[in-house]
Amino acid sequence: MTARTTTYREALRAAHREALERDARVFIMGEDVGKYGGSYAVTKGFFDEFGPERIRDTPLSELAFVGIGVGAALGGQRPIVEIMTVNFSLLALDQIVNTAATVRHMSGGQFSVPIVIRMATGAGRQLAAQHSHSLEVWYAHVPGIRVLAPATLEDARGMLWPALEDPDPVVMFEHAQLYNLEGELADPAPVVDIERAAVRRRGRDLSVVTYGGSLPRVNEAVNALAQQGIDAEVIDLRVLRPLDWDTIVASVRKTHRVLVVDEGWRTCSLAAEIITGLIERAFYDLDAPPARVCSEEVPMPYPKHLEDAALPMPPKIVAAACRVCGTAA
């Protein structure tokens, strides 16, 4: 096995190529995924390589093309539907929440919707308040769908195939700031699951639970904390629904302290759910009040300094971690 330097975007591309090659039922559909190569260039070149039958450009109508995807999945295909950003996916909520997520239940198990819906999420690229939000929790709220948040090259490369194999709808969030993430990826790429959270760093003083685009910021913060003598464990949720409580609880049982870093807004956030779930499951293991660092409760600002101020950036994470650990920042 060798390793080579690649990017998150390239890892996704490789995953899509593999899916298209392995399974003839797989096709990709979305705005500008064809001739333009995708807003984040994940499908660049595929139109020429795989043809318009499998790489399908759609009109600007999320409701329509996600609905087509649901229908194709019901009809036996394995559609990958790309939505430009989670903000736009709200137009397709009816198809995802009212149809894709419910058909298995409402048909008494006779039908399933094996669709994969991918979308970009998150801020940090000055795309302002209609292209920058982190609405993962809206989907994590809904029974009937699996929600993924690949935050590493391995997961960008490896999550798509098991998502396609899942007989039920899978929503996959790619944080817009991760596409250019560079790193080493083993070749052949490691097989990953879409069940478990991952411990990205072992530590004994504090569990920092995060996902998606916040993982690199957490890693930066945790390195700074190590300089101060705080040995933090980093849990990458990976799967936002269903949550892998075993991994989260096991970590907190060890460290007795938890900080959740979530780019979503604080109120009714994934962070809120994780802290509540921990209090339900591990109350007597907690040695300090749980804490969270989330986005400020404002529409995402456009100016760079305000955007940075609104996001859970490393200094905020460090300060919150110090509070939880009872030390001065």
Binding site: H256, Y284, D287, V324
Partner: protein, 384 residues
């Protein structure tokens, strides 16, 4: 409406833990009834209520440790309705009444000590009281590390150690605040011992009178003449005690000391005093004293007994203003009518608060004790 508060069962008590309610809501309570059992640093104490009433609400639960003065229960008086009490009870319930602060509460509203859930669980496993620890967590919360650090110490302080600390606090306060003066006098006990010998000659061992009640009664009768030694120094002034309740210093088997009161000593005959004294010693050692017994003493008497030495220079138990000590009874040469004769003697000593009395007055008081002990027959009768 009566608010039943945790009484101070001694100057050294600032908090207590409810062990047991002896009443339930709806019970009728009469003055003097025991309503609760409170664990102090010294012993489990039966606490009486000094009002008649009907128990309307119990505000704390067994296991709660609260500061002295905390309203523990609300009683309804005759003629009151439950409605009239409701607002006050609700208000009391709204205040967190389970504070057990290690530090004195600052503003009157006590705050629950913050103990992290993990620390609380571990403390329970280790048998450590987290309220005794100093927290190092956020906002001073007691953390797992604090509990585990405490556990690595050789041992948690036991009751004897805690009692040692409370005695230390009371005696330090006494020596810090009270300008003691000391007087001593040799008291011939020939008449007293003869009286006891005669009195006991026809009695079984268990019914025999001891010297101690005689000494206590002599002190009590002397206090009737010199009431300025019977009472308390509070807020810069002497407050005369109502009744003469003599605290008896009792050494406990596990070490430590309590001084519960024999109430209304002058009004009791010697047999009664003898019986009550034995009962008090027994209950003190069994840890079943009543609250009033621990808080009511208006003076204290300490006797070193036969294993002791000739004299004692006793330290006042605040806020009392005097303490009388008796040493060992010794046969000594003594001149009577120009002839040296062997006489049993005891050295009586007085430690008194110079803020409330002077040596001259103390001398008269101690001399009165001496004279009273020369006429034991008079002491034998209850004071009219």
């Amino acid at each position: 409406m009566i608010e039943f508060r945790l009484p101070s069962l001694g100057a050294d008590m600032d908090k207590g833990t409810l062990l047991e309610w002896r009443v339930q809501p709806g019970d009728n309570v009469k003055k003097g009834d025991v309503v609760a059992v409170i664990d102090t640093t010294k012993a489990a104490i039966d606490v009486e209520c000094w009002h008649d009433g009907r128990v309307e609400a119990l505000l704390i639960e067994p296991g709660d440790e609260v500061p002295v003065g905390t309203v523990m229960a609300v009683l309804r008086e005759a003629g009151e309705t439950a409605e009239q009490l409701r607002a006050r009870i609700d208000a009391l319930r709204a205040v967190p009444t389970v504070p057990t602060s290690r530090v004195t509460p600052v503003a009157g509203v006590p705050r629950r000590v913050a103990v992290s859930p993990a620390a609380r669980k571990r403390a329970a496993e280790l048998g450590i009281d987290p309220a005794e620890l100093t927290g190092t967590g956020t906002d001073g919360a007691i953390t797992l590390a604090d509990v585990e650090a405490a556990a690595t110490k050789v041992h948690a302080p036991g009751r004897a150690e805690v009692m040692r600390q409370t005695i230390a606090a009371a005696m330090s306060r006494s020596k810090r605040e009270i300008p003691h003066y000391y007087l001593a006098e040799d008291v011939p006990l020939a008449a007293a011992t003869a009286f006891l010998a005669e009195h006991n000659s026809t009695r079984s061992v268990t019914e025999r009178l001891l010297l101690a009640p005689l000494l206590l009664q002599a002190v009590a009768r002397a206090l009737q003449r010199y009431p300025d030694f019977n009472g308390f120094f509070r807020d810069g002034a002497f407050i005369r005690g109502i009744g003469i309740h003599v605290g008896v210093a009792i050494t406990l088997r596990n070490g430590g000391l309590v001084a519960p009161a024999l109430r209304d000593v002058p009004n009791k005959d010697l047999d009664t005093l003898n019986r009550e004294l034995l009962d008090l010693v027994q209950r003190a050692r069994a840890g079943s004293l009543k609250a009033s017994e621990l808080s009511d003493a208006t003076i204290t008497v300490t006797s070193l007994g036969e294993q002791g030495v000739r004299s004692v220079f006793p330290i006042i138990y605040p806020p009392q203003v005097a303490i009388v000590g008796f040493g060992r009874v010794l046969e000594q040469p003594w001149v009577i009518d120009g002839v040296v004769r062997p006489v049993p003697l005891v050295t009586a000593s007085l430690g008194a608060d110079h803020r409330t009395s002077d040596g001259h007055r103390g001398g008269l008081f101690l001399a009165a004790v001496r004279e009273l002990l020369q006429r034991p027959q008079q002491l034998a009768q209850a004071s009219p």
